[in-house]
């Protein structure tokens, strides 16, 4: 799978583009994180890949085929888990599999495997309302992975979680990425998270959103303790400075 942006622009209101002239190539199996100040259009970027929004200019192609609308080859999870509250955990995960082409047996096996992968097997029969925020987000990610998407799109998936849960979830999503080999594109406002998870960090500029910096991050280590190492902190500071500069520019533009 390769994901390609060809001079993509997006404007919700004509004349004020949210994203302008984005050219981007994402290789199969990459873990890309996207950070940027508010107004940089990072969520819009994901929405375009998901096919929920159409670009006003340019095109996005997945394995050479233009993205024309939403489809199960691109799984997505949002900051709010957005589960079906009347369906059990297992039924939520099964939603994408409830079409022709999946026998009852195949569906059951796939759901069982996914629940095992996200560590929720014993919660299979519960309603989402009785789960914690972190668990709900795991269900949401398992649901997005059900049809083996070529790319997993994550829009600030851990933004509403407390710090400890968030760190658990960071380790969790990295494990999922390792196990499945899916491409992951994740938007976050947390620079530390972006640098910790991303093998590639994209920093977006604001007004209009452009790719300001495209950083490769060498894996510095496995565990959370990496976050305290000097190299990690240096990269983090570099990205933070970039984001901060864009944030200030955005505020100045808003006041002008």
């Amino acid at each position: 799978m390769s994901l390609r942006f060809e001079s993509v622009s997006m404007a919700y209101t004509p004349g004020t583009p949210v994203l302008e002239d984005i050219d981007l190539d994402i290789a199969p199996g990459e873990f890309v994180t996207i950070v940027g100040a508010s107004g940089s259009g990072k969520s819009t970027l994901l929405s375009l890949v998901a096919g929920l929004t159409k670009p006003t200019k340019g095109r996005i192609a997945l394995d050479g085929r233009t993205v024309g609308g939403p489809g199960p080859d691109r799984g997505m999870a949002f900051q709010s888990p957005s589960l079906y509250p009347w369906r059990t955990v297992a039924q939520n995960v099964a939603f994408g599999l409830e079409t022709r082409g999946f026998s009852r047996q195949a569906r059951k096996e796939r759901v069982a495997w996914l629940l095992d992968e996200v560590g929720l097997t014993e919660h299979a029969g519960k309603l989402p309302g009785s789960l914690s925020g972190g668990q709900q987000q795991r269900v949401s990610i398992a649901r997005a992975l059900a049809r083996s998407p070529k790319v997993l799109l994550l829009d600030e998936p851990f933004g509403a979680l407390d710090v400890q849960t968030k760190e658990d979830m960071q380790l969790f999503i990295r494990q999922v990425w390792r196990d499945l080999g899916t491409t992951v594109v994740m938007v976050t406002h947390d620079v530390e998270e972006a640098v910790f998870l991303g093998r590639r960090v994209l920093v977006l500029a604001s007004d209009p959103g452009r790719v300001a910096r495209d950083l490769r991050v060498e894996p510095l280590g496995e565990g959370l303790e990496v976050k305290r190492s000097a190299e990690f902190l240096a990269v983090r500071a570099q990205v933070e400075d970039l984001v901060r500069r864009e944030h200030r520019a955005h505020l100045a533009a808003a006041h002008a």
Partner: protein, 275 residues
């Protein structure tokens, strides 16, 4: 360490007043006592006033008289027949209204063109009081069953359509987005996402409008009917049988309560996941 001295604050001499919360809770026991009193006190008052002789029997019959009128009507079979006639009309009229209004409201809440097409006309029609249509309905449809059922449909269909549309529109955008990314097309989203999400709210609307239908059927039967609880009341009026009227009113109230409680139980079961 940097210490910052805050500017002096004027100290109030009196102790700070306690703020009371608007919403207060009562214990379960108190709540039950209040529930019983809510019915028992008016009933006792009725009994006391009718027994005191201040008001003539003819205007305010005592509970035993009403009970006797009730058993008379049950023995003659009138009450059962009238009740069945009224419930039959509700079933037909309300059922028809639901069959029209739920799909129409669903359409208005989901499909872009349906809202601007139907909202204005329904918005006007729903403010026309259904009972004001009775003369017209009699001219158009005669004094038979059709005009009574039509009245119920008119009284329920517009409100229920708009209420359904409102409920359907409240399905979170994100849930629809997620469903699309999972490969669900419009029909599947409508059937598997929008409908189950809206069902508890649709039942809430039905519960409100069932009460409307129930009220209207009695109104319809007050005029030009030969059966039904409303008809029984007008008949009793002609012979000044206030005890019968009281008995029928109480029956109407209890049946209404039963309908309401039933719908509430169904709603609670269907909407276990919401609240």
């Amino acid at each position: 360490m940097v210490s910052v001295e805050s500017p002096p604050v004027e100290r109030a001499t009196a102790p700070a007043p306690r703020v009371k919360l608007l919403k207060t809770k009562v214990s379960r026991r108190t709540a039950w006592i209040l529930r019983v009193a809510s019915v028992a006190v008016p009933f006792a008052l009725w009994w006391a006033v009718s027994g005191s002789g201040v008001v003539p029997d003819r205007f305010l019959p005592a509970p035993p008289q009403v009970w006797a009128a009730f058993t008379d009507m049950v023995a003659s079979g009138d009450l059962q027949n009238d009740l069945l006639a009224s419930l039959g009309r509700i079933g037909a009229g309300f059922g028809l209204a639901v069959l029209v209004s739920v799909p129409l409201g669903f359409l208005m809440g989901t499909v872009g063109w349906a809202q601007p097409l139907f909202e204005p006309i329904i918005g006007i029609l729903r403010y026309l009081p259904a009972s004001a249509f009775i003369p017209l309905l009699i001219i158009w449809l005669g004094i038979g069953e059709t005009s009574k059922i039509a009245l119920l449909v008119l009284g329920v269909v517009f409100f229920n359509t708009l209420m359904t549309a409102d409920v359907v529109r409240q399905v979170p955008r994100r849930l629809l987005d997620v469903s699309a990314t999972l490969g669900a097309g419009r029909a599947r989203v409508a059937a598997r996402v929008v409908f189950p999400h809206s069902l508890p709210g649709i039942l809430d609307a039905l519960r409100v409008n069932a009460a409307v239908a129930y009220n209207l059927v009695v109104v319809a039967e007050l005029i030009a009917a030969t059966s039904g609880l409303g008809y029984r009341i007008t008949r009793a009026q002609r012979f000044l049988q206030t005890d019968k009227i009281f008995a029928i009113l109480i029956v109407i109230g209890l049946i209404g309560l039963t309908i309401d409680v039933t719908l509430r139980l169904v709603r609670a079961r269907v909407g276990r996941w919401s609240v």
